[in-house]
Amino acid sequence: MSTPLVELRGIRKEYDDVVAVADVDLKIDAGEFVVLLGPSGSGKTTILTMLGGFAEPTVGQIFIDDEDMTGRPPASRPTATVFQDYALFPHMNVASNVGFGLAMHKVPKSERKVRIDEALDLVGLASLGHRSIHQLSGGQRQRVALARAIAVRPSVLLLDEPLGALDLSLRRQMQEELVRIQDEVGTTFIHVTHDQEEAMSIADRIVVMSHGRIEDVGSPQKVYHRPSSLFSANFMGESNLIGGKVENSEGGRSRIAAAFGVCELSTSQQVGAEVSLMLRPEHLTLASPSSGAAIALGHAYVKGIVFQGSHLKVTAASEFDEVGVLKLSLPAETALIAGQQIDIFAVADNVVVLTQ
């Protein structure tokens, strides 16, 4: 890949004595759909604000298109922001909102009209240009905010939890729309959210953040299946964490002793280190898997069964106190009753070893 479109070098942001962002390095390529994911206070919105030019980093530099953005006001950055509260201009109609940036960039009137129509068409509001902002629904306002930002053709579109105020079904629908729109315009999207399902369904790459630091970076599959930290494992979805101790590590393979026995996994670890073995609920099975090296996790007693349509969500108490209660996601047709004794297995390749 050539030089990245956006590069954050050693970004640190302090407010009084609070460190909002701590030494973050990140490169983003042109055309990527990147999601900054994390709980509130993780620094994700602060990064977005610094990219947009509404705050300056205490330490570090931001480059967009190889240009140092330090000290540049929002107006002269090649970014456009979709604000969480939309921040539409209430005294203008839809078309004037979308055309505002074009007018500020001195785009001739005739061209302005064409680009307003294009942008409204893109977000599916082609016929609503004359409407007042007050006449729009929440979802429509969201689209106007998006069209307004896209109309100025930014190199980077910054989205600050844009779907947070929408109800669930509308949010899912807008997620698909965002992916489609990003696909059509090809602009780099940097999207902030605390909703890991949203992140997984829209992102090319997820950046998991906590306490101002990057915990994990990678494709949705990577951060979900092979998280690189305990925080990331927990934040991305339900997981089973089983404590273990590294007995031996050689040539990229480690022997790890856990309550249920000793298993050999392909990972390099410090001998003697305390580790957590992470397994997603859907990676636990009731029968020994036919392919791959199987690990037997011993018996467990079914505690709770929740039918979820496509699958059963089962909790089961392991025979080993150290393992505790395991969470399983089993095929919907599995016949189980509470109190039943089951044997639990996993494939070694699905186990993620995380240092504590």
Partner: protein, 267 residues
């Protein structure tokens, strides 16, 4: 029946309260239409003769003109200064911003009499004579904190994000101010103007202390009152009251329109 009976004391109390509040005004207005020589009972039947007398009294008409000019100009200045102060304090990171804000609002706690006396002494010291200008300055002093508070309260985080959006889309500070901030604040600006105008319009103490030859309507009414009750003064008082009500209604109308717009925005 029983239920109706139970509400009787409350209704009685309510009526009493309203009578207490409105009776003086009703009597003032009623006897401005008095067909007799004195604004006291009995009511001799409706007539506009005292209004005619008022219009033909050059002192009253002149004072009314002065009051209008002082109210409009002082409110304009107070709103402008209040807006500028609010804009600076809400949008710029100023050192001691909190302290400046409290200091700006502090005059609200000082009585008009004290402010009037202070102005009298100060103006004497720096050589501004007793005049309508002096009254106008006095009214700016009392109304500025109010105008500031009204405008400042409307410049919250959402409004700030709207301004950020404008800057993000390429607007410079001046464009943001003229195209976004002022149009959005327009109802608040107008409401603060109306309120300031109402307060200036019937303000007496400062106007009394700071005028000599050219006086405002409340001052002339006071002077004429000392010569005894006269239905002309009822008529003048009714005009003062009606115009005050007009200003308040205007401000109220704008406030509710704004509220409705906000409800729309939330829905």
């Amino acid at each position: 029946m029983a239920r109706w009976f139970r509400h009787l004391p409350a209704a009685f109390y309510l009526i009493l309260a309203y009578v207490f509040i409105f009776l003086p005004v009703v009597i003032l207005v009623l006897f401005s239409f008095q067909d007799g020589q004195l604004p006291v009972p009995p009511f001799d039947g409706p007539s506009l003769r005292w209004y005619e007398r008022m219009i033909s009294d050059s002192r009253l008409v002149e004072a009314l003109g002065h009051s209008v000019i002082v109210a409009l100009l002082s409110s304009l200045v107070a709103t402008l200064l209040g807006f500028l102060a609010a804009y600076a304090l809400a949008r710029r990171n100023m050192p001691f911003g909190g302290g400046i804000r409290y200091l700006l609002m502090a005059p609200l706690t000082v009585s008009y009499l004290i402010i009037g006396m202070g102005l009298l002494i100060t103006f004497a010291l720096i050589g501004i004579p007793k005049s309508l200008l002096a009254v106008g300055i006095g009214h700016v002093v009392i109304n500025l904190p109010l105008c500031f508070a009204i405008v400042y309260s409307q410049m919250g985080e959402h409004q700030r994000n709207i301004e950020r959006a404008a800057q993000d889309l390429g607007a410079n500070d001046l464009q943001t101010l003229v195209l976004i901030t002022i149009p959005i604040l327009q109802p608040a600006l107008f409401a603060s103007f109306c309120l300031a105008a109402t307060l200036s319009w019937d303000e007496f103490i400062i106007a009394f202390l700071l005028t000599r030859f050219d006086v405002t309507l409340p001052v002339i009414i006071f002077e004429m009152l000392s010569a005894g009750l006269n239905p002309v003064l009822n008529a003048a008082g009714t005009v003062v009251f009606a115009i005050s009500i007009l200003f308040v209604l205007l401000a109220l109308l704008l406030a509710t329109r704004r509220k409705r717009a906000n409800v729309d925005a939330a829905g």
